[in-house]
């Protein structure tokens, strides 16, 4: 009973915070609500026994992402005006409901199993099985950092464009390559469609 109550409270809290995150007029409040959702989910993960994942979720979701969002908001500016949606609201509600209902239908046909209780930290042992995931994560992080550096490099593109405009000697594509024999350059691909004679010669 106590178990279920805690889970229910956490789930309801997460849903409310998610809804507020979505609909609040100021983006900064959305960010705070997102951090609350993250905290609720992390707590749920902890209760389920996935301690390491809970820690990662809390630190990354509620920490790193919040910091990033605040930085982005500071650069972009917190325009409080979020004009009405482009898509008619009933369509959006309908689609979201359909998704939820279909997923629910698919998930509830699964037999309801009991959870396997507290789980010892298998996560380390299983990194041997999922080593490929570790490599992929490293590549991902590297790519993300490169992407950030490239995207946030302001002014570099402007400088590069000025350099090209000054002309740096790229060859233009010539349609007629020079012939090797020193004769007057002729089009080696021949005349196109020039031979449409009216009478037919054999």
């Amino acid at each position: 009973m106590g178990d279920s109550a805690i889970y229910s409270i956490l789930v309801v809290g997460a849903l409310i915070c998610a809804y507020r995150a979505m609909t609040s007029p100021r983006i900064l409040s959305s960010t705070i609500y997102l951090a609350c959702v993250s905290a609720a989910v992390a707590m749920m993960l902890y209760l389920l026994g996935a301690y390491q994942v809970a820690v990662i979720e809390l630190s990354v979701g509620a920490g790193l992402v919040t910091v990033l969002l605040v930085y982005a908001i500071s650069v972009v500016g917190d325009d409080a005006s979020d004009p009405g949606p482009v898509i008619p609201r009933p369509v959006a509600v309908g689609l979201a409901l359909l998704t939820a209902v279909m997923l629910g239908y698919m998930a509830y046909s699964l037999p309801s199993k009991a959870l396997t209780g507290r789980v010892p930290p298998l996560i380390r042992a299983l990194w041997e099985q999922r080593v490929l995931d570790v490599w992929i994560q490293m590549v991902l992080i590297f790519a993300g950092v490169l992407g950030i550096l490239g995207l946030l490099a302001e002014g570099k593109t402007a400088r590069a464009k000025a350099h090209e405009a000054a002309g740096n000697g790229h060859r233009t594509v010539k349609v007629i390559p020079p012939t090797a024999c020193g004769c007057a350059p002729l089009d080696p691909r021949g005349a196109h469609g020039s031979a449409n004679k009216e009478e037919v010669h054999v």
């Binding site: 949606p85 482009v86 898509i87 369509v91 689609l95 979201a96 359909l98 998704t99 279909m102 997923l103 239908y105 698919m106 060859r171 233009t172 594509v173 010539k174 349609v175 390559p177 020079p178 012939t179 090797a180 024999c181 004769c183 007057a184 002729l186 089009d187 080696p188 691909r189 021949g190 005349a191 196109h192 469609g193 020039s194 031979a195 004679k197 037919v200 010669h201 054999v202």
Partner: protein, 583 residues
């Protein structure tokens, strides 16, 4: 040993493609050297593979699970086609050193050519139908990219797209057949399929047989898909020689030959194949007779000769078809390269502006005449004569008589248009003042080697047939030695009838001034032929319809993120609904 040679034959050209791609276009000489080096090495590797030919799986690369293993079998048909692809490929690359000299985007050109050569070798050596499709598609892609190589020219670009669309229609048939086999047999292996084809049941087998026929007809530019090949002559001449004469268009014929034992029992299939071959051969021979553009005439002649090969398959002469394939690759590549030398020198493709070039270009003239004599099928030393006679002999015993008569007429027409080409370009009065230099040294290497091949490749008939017979057990071929071949052909009275028809064709050209009554009477045929019997119109209409549909569909692209998200989530809902229904 066969394993590493197969890997080398496919891997070396692909390595070369990457290497030439990475070389900067300023270092032109390096690009030439790299391309020639890698293609010659690949040629040597596949020539070295010939003694190791066998009928069992030579190389197996496990890919696990869904796609089956990537298997390669080095049997006679595959090995000789691989040798043709790489050797003619390397000669075309050597020719390109001169022809494409000074081109600003040489890296793109060479990497595509080398990619193509590797894919072609993979196509003929593979034993898995899925990977046959995979290599098939790579060759189609390279062909499109090389036809539209001069991408500033809208004609070249539209010709490339036309080729791509037409061959893709066929590719769908091929994929469908492969999936049918996988669904019913559980594996993609070709030799297993050939062994157990009868267990597939008559209806799926018939679908597969005709699907593969369509795929092969589209790839080899047979009727009714014959329009893309003449339009593909916008490509540089070495490309026309390599892709559109010697290798890629052979893929369709190869497909039919490889799967012949499985499809032969299907009722109506062999007749359909014969009909496709005969119609293609005659239709395009007529069109070649009236074509004003040198490369176009050669393209029509390619389709016509491929029609002969398809006809040979239809009457059951797989060995004859393979032999003609071998000879044709050599002499057609020779003709295209020689034509390329002429076009490069005088700057036009229009035969009405040429004439009397024999004095200015003796080497090009000599090799072109050699190739032309082989194409026309003149005895006694030209490989075209022996292989064409073998095809006609096969038709004598295995096929319907109407088809044989039609092919005889086609042989006469072949001689006629071939002689016309030779005469209009090299002899007679110069129709305009053109200055031409003879073939450059790089061109001479390729031309010379191919000319020697034209004169001597028929001497390898004995080992060739023996190779085919011993490594292709499902096809039940009957090997001929060289002596047997010469005896059989020279002793058969039919051969002399055929030679007589060829002679008639030559005389008809020579005496054309006196035969004006014929040209007047058949004037309508000439007009129809120069409009390619209405097929170009059909093409244009199909392209216009496609573009109209595409323009009409532009309204579905609002470019707005929210609407795109509606599409994404809507798609997700659709998938979920499908999954629940299907479960």
């Amino acid at each position: 040993m066969a394993q590493s040679l197969i890997l080398l034959s496919i891997g070396l050209p692909w390595l070369g493609a990457v290497a030439t791609w990475l070389t900067r276009n300023e270092q032109e000489r390096t690009q030439h050297v790299l391309a020639v080096g890698f293609s010659v090495a690949a040629g040597l590797a596949s020539l070295a593979l010939i003694p190791y030919a066998g009928s069992s799986v030579a190389l197996r690369l496990p890919l696990g699970g869904l796609f089956g293993d990537m298997t390669f079998v080095a049997d006679g048909l595959g090995v000789f086609l691989a040798a043709v692809a790489t050797v003619v490929g390397s000669l075309a690359v050597i020719f390109s050193v001169s022809y494409m000299h000074g081109d600003p985007q040489l890296g793109r050109y060479y990497s595509l050519v080398l990619l193509f050569i590797g894919a072609m070798v993979g196509l003929v050596l593979t034993n898995s139908m899925l990977f046959l499709f995979f290599f098939w598609e790579i060759t189609a892609l390279c062909s499109y990219a090389l036809i539209s190589y001069y991408n500033d020219d809208p004609k070249a670009v539209s010709a490339g797209i036309e080729a791509l669309v037409m061959t893709q229609i066929g590719g769908v048939g091929l994929l469908g057949g492969a999936l049918v086999v996988y669904a019913l047999f559980g594996s993609y292996e070709i030799d297993a399929f050939l062994q157990n084809a009868a267990t597939l049941g008559p209806t799926p087998l018939a679908w597969m047989a005709f699907g593969f026929l369509i795929a092969a007809a589209a790839k080899s530019a047979q009727f009714p898909f014959q329009t893309w090949l003449p339009d593909a002559m916008e490509a540089p001449s070495p490309i026309s020689a390599l892709i559109h004469a010697a290798t890629m268009v052979n893929a369709g014929v190869y497909l039919l030959a490889r799967f012949y034992p499985a499809f032969a029992p299907v009722p109506g299939w062999k007749t359909a194949v014969v009909a496709v071959g005969v119609i293609s051969a005659l239709l395009t021979a007529c069109m070649a007779l009236f074509a004003p553009d040198l490369k176009r005439a050669l393209a029509y002649s390619t389709v016509s000769q491929l029609g002969y090969m398809v006809y040979a398959i239809g009457v059951g002469g797989i060995a004859a078809c393979s032999f003609h394939l071998f000879s044709h690759s050599i002499f057609k590549a020779l003709l295209f390269l020689a034509a390329g030398a002429v076009i490069h020198a005088v700057g036009t493709r229009d035969m009405w502006k040429m004439g009397g070039l024999a004095k200015q270009m003796p080497i090009a003239c000599t090799v072109f005449v050699l190739g032309a004599l082989s194409l026309a099928g003149i005895p006694p030393v030209f490989n075209g004569f022996w292989s064409k006679e073998l095809v006609l002999e096969a038709g004598l015993t295995g096929g319907p008589t109407w088809a044989l008569v039609a092919m005889l007429v086609g042989a006469g027409l072949t001689a006629c248009y071939t002689f016309r080409m030779v005469w209009m370009v090299f002899f007679g009065e110069a129709r305009s003042h053109l200055h031409g230099h003879d073939a450059t040294p790089a061109m001479r290497v390729s031309l010379g080697l191919l000319a020697i091949g034209t004169l001597t490749s028929w001497l390898a008939a004995g080992p060739f047939f023996h190779l085919l017979e011993s490594t292709m057990p499902h096809h039940k071929l009957h090997a001929l030695s060289l002596g047997g071949l010469t005896h059989e052909i020279l002793a058969a009275p039919f051969t002399w009838i055929a030679v007589g028809v060829v002679g008639l064709g030559l005389l008809a050209w020579a005496g054309r001034d006196r035969l004006t009554f014929l040209t007047d009477g058949f004037g309508w045929l000439g007009v129809a032929a120069s409009k390619s019997f209405g097929f170009e119109r059909i093409n244009e209409q199909v392209v216009a319809a496609t573009q109209a549909t595409a323009n009409a569909l532009r309204v579905t692209q609002p470019g707005h993120l929210s609407w795109n998200l509606v599409g994404i989530i809507g798609g997700l809902v659709a998938v979920l609904i499908l999954l629940t229904w299907g479960a």
